[in-house]
């Protein structure tokens, strides 16, 4: 019975952590779904959001979650600018060019963070980030529960936005058929920039909750990019539910991997799952 009790903790934590992973993957999935671009700078943009919250928290004294009122518009503007001034010009050249540009952006962000914040590991150590509570004999850190709730809220809002608003419908239309959308009078270049902006706004939210949950360094972005990619691979594209399930699979892989093989191996399990899923079903388990 005690063994089962011990196992309950990683199970619950894995599911909750899955929410955070789904949240991180949301922006990547959106950009890929609409523009067919795998934004390899996504992880670093998430970490940029984390560092902004860190700046607001330690220097301005603003709570990280409240700082999102500034952080989300800032990252939205950055995403809009990246698409409008860099990516949009590259789409016409070849398939590799946008990828290499995203790679360049990734390096720029990493090194800007490194110069400003040094390579030291940091964390958003708010008063509530360290608290935990007990449910049915399982001790759960409050931060994990907050991750899950935030992920639910963002996913719900985003799916309602895509389904109900004119702009949301235009984004869906552009992702389904660019030509047809253009013929219907949709300015796809503008839609692309807005999509990138929205994706980055979700990245800002993901960044804050990541910082509350895990310590981070300027190069943490790559690890979270791979996790986000894994979430998309498992969950398939264009499905909010799939993204959520993909997040939970990777969250469970990490906590159970850590439980059975030790903390150092937990990310390795997640990476191996990504490679195995790629080998078996490159279009994703829930993909069409």
């Amino acid at each position: 019975m005690t063994a089962l009790g011990n196992l309950a903790t990683p199970l619950v934590m894995g599911v909750l952590l899955g929410g955070l992973y789904g949240l991180i993957a949301l922006g990547l999935s959106l950009v890929f779904g609409v523009m067919r671009l795998i934004n390899v700078a996504h992880g670093d943009l998430v970490i940029l959001g984390t560092y902004f919250a860190y700046f607001a928290f330690t220097i301005l004294g603003i709570d990280p979650i409240l700082s999102l009122f500034i952080g989300m518009p800032l990252l939205f503007a950055l995403g809009f600018a990246i698409q409008k001034y860099l990516m949009s010009r590259s789409f016409g050249i070849s398939m590799e060019v946008p990828l290499i540009i995203a790679f360049g952006i990734s390096l720029i962000i990493q090194n800007v963070n490194q110069i400003i914040w040094t390579p030291l590991s940091r964390g958003l150590t708010t008063s509530y980030a360290l608290e935990s509570f007990v449910v049915g004999g399982v001790r759960i850190p409050l931060a994990y529960l907050l991750d899950f709730i935030a992920a639910l809220i963002v996913m719900l809002l985003l799916s309602q936005f895509l389904r109900r608003t004119y702009l949301g419908k235009a984004i869906v239309a552009a992702s389904q058929d660019t030509r047809a959308a253009q013929l219907m009078g949709i300015n796809t270049a503008r839609i692309y920039a807005l999509t990138f902006g929205i994706a980055m706004a979700t990245a800002a939210v993901a960044g804050v909750f990541l910082g509350i949950t895990f310590p981070f360094t300027p190069i943490s972005g790559i690890a979270f990019l791979i996790i986000a990619f894994g979430v998309i691979i498992i969950g398939g594209l264009g499905s909010m539910l799939g993204t959520f399930i993909g997040g939970i699979v990777l969250g469970l892989a990490q906590t159970l991997g850590g439980y059975f093989l030790g903390a150092a191996a937990q990310m390795l399990i997640a990476y191996i799952i990504v490679l195995v899923v790629l080998a078996i079903r490159p279009q994703g388990i829930f993909g069409r």
Binding site: L37, S94, V97, V112, A223, I226, A264, L278
Partner: protein
């Protein structure tokens, strides 16, 4: 298209350059110069192979650090078992090539950008593996799980330099041979239109696999030579995206998919390293900005730009 016979066109000038490069250490050139030339040839070999993959085979491989690191660790295991270092270089290259064959099973099911991300996972996973796994016992060195390379007593800077020179020149020659062989012609057909190539009897999968394995083998040799010079290896600085950055930058600045591209690009990258050596973080930042700038302004790089300028000036347009 004009077909040039490899090695004959302008055969004398390259020969003279190679001879001068070989005798350079004997002429008493400063050690710093040899070091920069050493880095140039190691990077050149790796960049040539990345150009073969990304520029000619449509494989944007982000797992080159895996080949470099596996060759480095193989070198360590060989030298720790009392075997000579040159066996380590060969074994390292073979392990890198075998590993390329192994990971081709999952990643070759992916196309284009999916392939890039699939390969990005590999070095990240290997970094953790080499943190956890200690292939040979002994004292820790470096950031947690590092090893010294043994059995290097008696090799001077000139020795390191000659090894790098050998692999650098070999990689140039190899590219000439590959691109003019059946493999190169098949790759060119795939690059122009893979469906047409496949229906004309070109085995797309096999040709791409050949260039992936060849790329891993040569990158492995260059990697092992680098770690012979460095004298130690540890996971964090080995399985790092910085290697990928160097290779992409060298290829892209010079011109991706152009044979001379990596040569020109690597010269510039090494000069940049030399100029920016004092500002480590800033150096990578500037390289990132250059990368974005080149891709937007001149996606064909310097050699592509020169070719275009020449083609527009001469009355007879030489199409490539």
């Amino acid at each position: 298209m004009k077909v040039a016979i490899p090695g004959l066109r302008g055969g004398l000038v390259p020969l003279v350059i190679v001879v001068v490069l070989v005798v350079l250490p004997i002429l008493g050139v400063p050690r710093a110069w040899l070091l920069y030339l050493f880095l140039f040839f190691v990077y050149l070999a790796m960049a040539n192979m990345w150009n073969l993959l990304a520029g000619y085979s449509g494989l944007i491989s982000l797992c080159q650090p895996a080949f470099i690191g596996l060759a480095g660790y193989t070198l360590v295991i060989i030298t720790w078992n009392g075997l000579p270092f040159y066996l380590g270089i060969i074994a390292g290259a073979i392990i890198a090539a075998a590993f390329a064959l192994l990971i081709s099973i999952p990643v070759f099911r992916l196309r284009g950008i999916y392939f890039a991300i699939g390969t990005l996972v590999v070095p990240e996973a290997l970094r953790i593996v080499f943190f956890l796994w200690r292939p040979v016992g002994g004292a820790l060195h470096g950031g947690g799980a590092g090893y010294m390379v043994k059995g290097l007593a008696g090799i001077s800077m000139s020795g390191f330099y000659w090894m790098a020179l050998a692999i650098g020149i070999t990689s140039i020659f190899l590219m000439r041979v590959i691109l003019r062989s059946r493999l190169g012609l098949g790759l060119a057909a795939i690059r122009d239109n893979d469906n047409t190539a496949a229906s004309s009897g070109v085995d797309v999968f096999r040709l791409k696999l050949y260039s992936f394995v060849i790329g891993a083998f040569v990158t492995g040799i260059a990697g092992a030579i680098f770690y012979i010079y460095q004298g130690y290896i540890e996971p964090v600085s080995t399985f790092t995206i910085r290697w990928t950055m160097i290779l992409i930058l060298s290829t892209v600045i010079g011109g991706i998919g152009i044979e001379e591209g990596p040569i020109v690009g690597t010269v510039i990258v090494v000069i940049l390293h030399f100029l920016l050596a004092r500002y480590a973080g800033l150096s990578l930042l500037i390289q990132g900005i250059i990368l974005v700038g080149i891709m937007l302004l001149a996606p064909q790089g310097i050699m592509g730009f020169i070719r275009k300028a020449r083609a527009s000036r001469s009355p007879v347009t030489v199409s490539h």
